[in-house]
Subunit: 154 residues, 2 copies
Amino acid sequence: MKVLTKKTDYAIRALLMLGAKRGSYLSAKAIAVEQQMPYQFLRGLLQEMIRHNLIVSKEGVKGGFMLERDPDEIRVRQLIEIFQGAVQVSECVFRKQICANRSRCVLRHEIMRIEEVVNSEFEQVTIGKLLRKLNAGSNMMSALKKEDKTLQEG
Amino acid sequence: MKVLTKKTDYAIRALLMLGAKRGSYLSAKAIAVEQQMPYQFLRGLLQEMIRHNLIVSKEGVKGGFMLERDPDEIRVRQLIEIFQGAVQVSECVFRKQICANRSRCVLRHEIMRIEEVVNSEFEQVTIGKLLRKLNAGSNMMSALKKEDKTLQEG
DNA sequence: TTTAATTGATATCAATATAGTATCAGTTAG
DNA sequence: CTAACTGATACTATATTGATATCAATTAAA
């Protein structure tokens, strides 16, 4: 069971880079190299994010992409919805319809409850929050490097 | 983002049927017909569950499958692990390895936290619990039918 | 004004995962 | 003996995921 697909993973990391360079344009190539992602694949993701008004672009030399919204307003939940579709339990049947199969119903109900838990968790993770952790951590890393060889797990 | 695949969905519902008929053998065919699942596909799932000691089987005429363990000890989390693999975030890298990419690290850490929430939720849902809901609900359904046309959502 | 660095748009492909089917051998109750 | 079963396994189809390729349009700068 995979929580994040490559698309979402790449998209989030691209946004983190854009969030760290707010105000200036960053090219797809620069992101792809830095984050080690397939260039053309990433470009597709960036275009998708433009369509969802998360970022803007500028064509031509010195062009690139720039964060459009406040990083604290960009939620991982939305990114999951864009790139993986909304979290959903097996097939959705119409509301107020008679349950063809009772056990299916009970199971669905239970899963829907968990689904909401998951959604609210992802709702709370924003690009802004991740950026702050990123910054806080980089100091921690250096500190760790000096006093201990044990680094963070990959 | 699909939480349960058909495999897990079918497996759980098959277990619910077996749980409702504890002590006697139920054939794959009976389950497939009642639950409207593809017969051969279901058989594969049942065999997988035998391998994991969740159920036992008897060959020949009047053979079939029977629940091996206490329904309260069969957790949806385990079924997800069997049929969809353990919940995991993008690719796993070895522990205590140096983080090649810091943003990947931070992201992973956050997702792992949510992953644990999801796991503990699914850990708490057992076949036993679902069975009790199933029984509780069937009464409710009849009650509803009498006083109101509004039935449960599919 | 030409050129190189860029995005826009889109087509295609490969790999993997999911869902489902088919077949045949072995077991067993009646 | 036979029909109703499971065991085992091979196969197919479809969908999803991940990735590549191509060409036109735009733009900063030499």
